[in-house]
């Protein structure tokens, strides 16, 4: 269809590979129908919201404040995704060397890669925002359709920033540190969003007002450049045009300034060196296959890149739990609120850990060729993932013991159910994770994620029923 080796040909190749490797396609028989159904539901809900909950006309300053808050959340989440996608796409595909060895211009290769990442970053948000934009346009606000332009442009901007950071960082420190950096950003954004959501509880009303005012223009500075992104987001033509121009300019600048660095081989799977020496605990030979397999699983788990950041990210639930247990925060019926949260978290951690173990098992044939029972590998995986989950959950469980000891049996029973369900599901249907090493195949699916969340929610609900005196 396109001339071989042309930019369009390369872009088509990239999009084809991204689509074939996408989580959506790999689980299409399970996921496509729910995705379409959810999109339709979103659209209906958006129409209902816009029709029935139309607020009185808001001032321009308030609209800009709302747009700014949305932009902060959106940019942060997009940047987090773009950083991990940049590293993932550039290194795990492993075809950078082949492309760079071809007579195709490096700038074309980089451009195609950046467009691919920007598209993958924009797609989910566009799906969400488009529903609201369509509804607003139907009910007399056609400028809301600017979302279709602004979100892809914002994705292009954050992708350019992500590529700039990753390529520069890789050149200086190597891909492993670059990946650590992206995980740290993801964690920081998670904590930031959580903290911002809780801000009204911690910040005095006067200070909170000052915080909001920082994101809001006054009558005199409403035309200042700082408010242009928000005004573009709201669909004003000139700010939107300027925002697009700036995004494209930055995207282009990154392309022309980083193409050489990219081509020089800084971004190459081959540049990924081995991890630090695993001296600790080495030399501890064990005679029992089960024990040695658990140890192997725990080692693989501990060496999974992003284990700490992703575990911390998932464990943010523990912040309100701790506050409730220590009496710093009162909500609903007190400690009984934390029980379902802990049950849910325990299940999600078990699912996360078993998915890592399943994804890291590169040589199942080794175990299959050994003189051990076929179930040994499964049981060792369950044991290692349970152990890791219980280590994280130990302190909160002790907190419940001291603050609401009578709820402990219900907590432990539901936690056991939640962990066990997620282990059984997670071994068969692991969740999508960052690849344990560059060049490795993704094994997880969205289906696994849906099943795991459902199982955890079920057990959390059971726990809530058990500890709430009058649930209905």
């Amino acid at each position: 269809m396109f001339k071989p080796a042309s930019f369009a040909w390369l872009l088509a190749h990239e999009i084809n590979l991204l689509w074939r490797g996408s989580i959506l396609l790999r689980t299409s028989k399970y996921v496509l129908v729910p995705v379409i159904a959810v999109s339709v539901i979103f659209q209906v809900v958006a129409l209902l919201i816009v029709k029935y909950l139309q607020s009185p006309t808001l001032s321009q300053a308030i609209l800009i404040l709302i747009a700014n808050i949305n932009l902060i959340f959106l940019s942060g989440l997009m940047l987090s995704r773009a950083m991990t996608s940049t590293i993932d796409v550039l290194y795990s595909r492993g075809d950078a060397d082949v492309l760079l060895a071809s007579p195709i211009k490096p700038i074309s290769i980089l451009a195609v890669r950046m467009i691919g990442v920007a598209a993958s970053v924009a797609a989910p948000w566009l799906l969400l925002a488009a529903a609201l934009a369509n509804a607003l346009a139907i009910f007399g606000n056609p400028q809301a359709l600017a979302t279709y332009i602004i979100i892809p442009m914002l994705a292009a901007l954050v992708t350019a920033i992500a590529f700039l950071s990753v390529v520069s960082l890789v050149a200086r420190s190597g891909p492993a540190k670059a990946r650590l950096f992206s995980h740290s950003i993801a964690l920081f954004i998670g904590v930031f969003i959580f903290a911002l959501g809780q801000a009204p509880r911690y910040i005095a009303p006067a200070s909170l007002r000052t915080l909001w005012q920082a994101f809001m223009p006054t009558a005199t500075n409403i035309n200042a450049a700082i408010w242009l992104p928000a005004r573009a987001f709201l669909g004003e033509f000139i700010p939107a045009a300027l925002f697009c121009a700036v995004s494209i300019l930055i995207f282009w600048l990154v392309l022309i300034t980083r193409a050489r660095q990219f081509a020089d081989g800084t971004i190459s799977a081959a540049a990924y060196g081995s991890g630090p020496a695993g001296r600790r605990g080495s030399g501890a030979f064990r005679q029992h296959p089960f024990a040695t397999t658990i140890l192997k699983n725990l080692r693989l788990l501990l060496r999974f890149p992003g284990l700490v950041t992703q575990t911390t990210y998932r464990s943010l639930t523990l912040v309100p739990v701790t506050m409730i247990l220590t009496g710093h925060f009162t909500i609903g019926t007190g400690p009984s609120v934390v029980i379902p949260l802990l049950v849910f978290l325990a299940g999600q951690l078990a699912l996360f850990f078993i998915s890592i173990i399943v994804g890291s098992d590169q040589s199942p044939d080794l175990l299959a060729s050994a003189p051990v029972a076929p179930q040994t590998g499964h049981r060792a995986a369950y044991a290692a993932a349970s152990y890791a989950s219980l280590v994280v959950m130990a302190l909160p469980v002790l907190g419940v013991l001291f603050r609401a000891g009578q709820m402990l049996p219900a907590l432990l029973a539901a936690m056991a159910g939640s962990i066990l369900s997620n282990l059984l599901l997670g071994r068969r249907f692991p969740i999508p994770l960052l690849r344990p090493a560059f060049g490795k195949t993704q094994t997880g699916t969205v289906f696994g994620l849906i099943l795991g969340v459902s199982a955890s929610s079920f057990w959390a609900f059971i726990a809530w029923l058990a500890v709430t005196p009058t649930p209905f």
Partner: protein
Amino acid sequence: MINALTVRGLCKSFAKPIINQLDLTIAPGEIYALLGPNGAGKTTTLRMIAGLLKPDAGSIEVFGTDVLTAPLTAKAMMAWLPDEPLLYDKLSALEYLEFVAGLWQVEPAIAATRAETLLETFGLWQHRHQRCEGFSRGMKQKTVLAGALIHTPKLFILDEPLTGLDAAAAKLVKSILTQCAAEGAAIIITTHILEVAERLATRIGILSGGNLLAQGSFAELQTAAGQHADTSLEDVFLHLTTRADV
């Protein structure tokens, strides 16, 4: 004397027949090279012997133990090395040997001593704490060979064991295999390097289209192919496989 490996009437089909009525025996101390063009069924045969793939028909015995009815007993005597090294990138070489020794239940003190000796032998001792992800193909191959040797198997099943090895390492592996055979172990090996088979193997089998075309010593194969005594194994191999294709 009991055979190290006895294969009788082995059959396996996927979409089409891969192995047809394969009969094979290997005596202790013998090195048997299984040769064949790509897709001949060599790896499928080895995977069935290793207990990783269930045959459609036939029997496999390792030192008198049926692989299908007593797989754990049979596996305890075997070491399986596929063409792609069975390694864990995030484990160090020493940790890998710990894992393999644990799976084969080698007594810890003995395993530690053997691990040290093997790592020294393969020139990996100074790299023992490095993760395998940083190893070259040759170092990975040497690590899995050390893993195979740590539990002193009586039957080695080796699929292209010399892939990725430099000349010195390949010579070392050949000498280790010869030594293992001299000590009574049986070895079944596949290779596309016919000189290796010619020099290393005591018997050679040529597989094509799932059928064993010929087997025996090199001299017997020359006779079977109607070739002169100075004909190379490459010529014999091409003659037999081309004739089978026709």
